[in-house]
Amino acid sequence: MKRRQGWLFFIIFLFTLSVYLLINYPLQLGLDLQGGSQLTLQIIKEEGKVTRDELEAVNSVIDKRVNNLGVSESNLQTLGGDQLILELPGEQNPLVASRVLGKTALLEFRTQKKGTSTDLKALQLQRLTIKELIEQYSFAEKSQNDNNLNVIQDDLKNIEQELNYSSTSNDLYGKLIEIKKYVDKGITNLFIKTDLSGKDLINAGRRQEQTNSNWEVLLTFSNSGGEKFAEITKSIAGTNQLLAIILDGESISEASVGNQFASTGITGGSATISGNFSAENARELEVQLKGGSLPLPIEVVETNTIGALLGSKNILKSLYAAISGLIFVGIFMIFNYRILGIVSVLSLVLYGFFNLAIYSLIPVTLTLPGISGLILSIGMAVDANILIFERIREELYDGNTLTRSIDSGFQRANSSIVDGHITTLLSCFVLFLLGTNFVKGFAATLGIGVLISLFTSLNCSKTILRFFTTYQSLRQKNLYLPKNNFSN
């Protein structure tokens, strides 16, 4: 009896501890409960698997970019070896994040091949025309003006003829974009790589140009980068070769270097890109350059956005479901098992608190599937109690004393309870290993639930029941068996 009392104090201690934990370390809510966006980023590698180093390199670049974006409380984690999950809580637009993160931001400085001036001029002109056509297209689309669309179509055909290239896209917009890419590639190919790249930057910034409202991006080179830049500019100063700044294969600025730099090159270790940036574009480029270029390209493959209001509704709904589930299970148990039912309700309440306390300890982020795992595990937690209570009833029917029936009930049910839960735990384990983020939440809460239920339904129930039976008035057999059955 003494040992049981020790257990009773231990359980009360655990309960107090859980309440303390829950008050001081509130539960972490998933985005489906608090609102926000979640982006899944897929690392793209043409051949072979993404190595651990590459994953970490990508992770750190993305992390820097996210921080530079100034998103608050964001959370970045890797998933399954070649994916990253970025969570942006609250009302933050995932659009900017996806634009900034999705670009490789590979910055190159290239010098023009000799004797390509005419080619370059032609391509630059075509690039301008295409840009205009794309703008016109947006207008024509909005106003549903078919005449204008036809004109754009004709212009596009002319350019295709000049380029000696025919686009393969189905719709007009796709064709325009395809041709633009073709022209961009053509321009880039007229320039030769140098050893100066985004790696030589130590900082990036932006400012508004003085002459107009456009923005420019400022680059600050490292010492060696500054030297390389001086060297490169020196080599083409005063010639008709241009210096191109190329971002992800697309030239964003082509500039000549004046004759006055022929002796030393452009020194000072900094440069500006004035490429008609809008304030937003300039900021995005700044963030990308500061974070460095991605070693492998990534693609946003999944975006989930949930409004804050919907999130709080989801919390309420889950709460209703959990509480009504508990109440109805409680009613069912008390109706069928009387005092024993009350014991199981008490251990269920303990079970709920212990679960939540474990969530805040580990911590487990609570999501909708997670909550459903928890609610489902309520039913499974009662499962063990039912097994035990049925045994106790059988012993009582056989005419055994109460204390003996309780003892052997717990003893005999022990093994089949542990056995029975193993298969559920197996499923949870597999789900947790192989599942997506979403699924993991369910597997975690269900798995934790099954484990805790072993403790609450075996130990807590037994202790509470023993405590009850210390009172003489609670020891009558008919409190344990429904009357009509007792005569049976």
Binding site: P94, T303, A443
Partner: protein, 304 residues
């Protein structure tokens, strides 16, 4: 209260009933594979094929005005660059025109934002706080599908292994038969739901199948344990002992199924819509699972 299920007498009926259920499920799966627009054994949802799903509420002073989905779509089409997309767009309204749900093929975040702002212009104002938007790329969808299938196979293998180690061959075989019976029937029901109500299955469906597998085996294990225990003390004949064991564990098995069903029903009734089909699949699995544990698996053990 003693239960008296006449297992021995009804063996044929039970096995016949299960056979009919299995045939119906197979029929649904075959019909779904060959006679539907999606040509898959089951109607795969966005998680597996990729796409864009949007749910958003309108802000209305009193009652939300009526609108015809077709004209809204027509309007959206006029404002969109991506013609191809809008041939495959689906729009529904619920809750007295308040809640709008839209399904399209995969969109970029930018395109999706455009779609929402166009929608706002047509039937707005919209309550952005109530937005629920999911964009899944087709590549990720394929991956999720393989992931789910691997998880299912791995855990079925693990469970089979456990059962084979734990029981002798005959018991293991019948426990597994009962398990596959349960999974096949739940799968079949969702095939039919897909055909009749175009219900789609997502990754949570795979989760429910896995959970059902764990749960159903659990039930069967308890009953088989009882049978083994009683056979050792052998008072009556083999068949009679099996029937007695089933009747002895009947209360326990139905009760635990009921206590597991109660929380699931409360999720179906009160929980978030995103858990509706998931909880339904689990509930069906638990019902079929209890049936197969109590009636089917022990019947298979009976000798003629």
């Amino acid at each position: 209260m003693k239960y008296n299920l006449e297992l021995i007498k009804n063996k044929r009926k039970i096995i016949g009933f299960s056979t009919v259920l299995i045939l119906l499920s197979l029929l649904g799966i075959l019909y779904s594979t060959f006679n539907t627009s999606y040509k898959k054994p089951i109607n795969l949802g966005m998680d597996f094929v990729g796409g864009n799903e949007l749910r958003i509420e309108r802000i209305c002073k009193e009652e939300c005005s009526n609108f015809s989905p077709d004209s809204v779509l027509e309007n959206l089409r006029e404002n969109s660059k991506n013609k191809n997309l809008l041939n495959n767009i689906k729009l529904q309204s619920q809750n007295n025109n308040k809640l709008i749900s839209i399904r399209t093929p995969y969109l970029s975040i930018e395109e999706s934002n455009n779609l929402i702002s166009n929608l706002d212009n047509i039937i707005g104002p919209l309550n952005y706080e109530s937005k629920d938007s999911r964009l899944i790329g087709p590549k990720l969808g394929k991956r999720l599908l393989t992931n789910c299938i691997t998880s299912l196979l791995v855990s079925l293998f693990a469970i089979s292994l456990y059962i084979t180690i734990r029981f002798d061959k005959k018991y293991a075989l019948f426990a597994l038969l009962a398990l596959f019976h349960d999974l096949l029937i739940v799968f079949g029901i969702f095939s039919w739901l897909g055909i009749i109500l175009s219900v789609e299955v997502n990754s949570l469906f795979a989760v429910s199948l896995l959970t059902i597998a764990g749960y159903s085996v659990n039930d069967t294990v308890v009953i088989f344990d009882r049978i083994r225990e009683n056979l050792k003390s052998k008072k009556e004949g083999y068949n009679e002992t099996i029937q007695l064991s089933v009747n002895e564990s009947f209360r326990r098995t139905t009760f635990t199924s009921i206590t597991t069903l109660i929380p699931l029903l409360s999720i179906i009734l009160f929980g978030s819509y995103s858990l509706f089909w998931f909880s339904l699949a689990l509930s069906l699995g638990i019902i079929v699972g209890s049936y197969s544990s109590i009636l089917l698996a022990p019947s298979l053990l009976l000798k003629d």
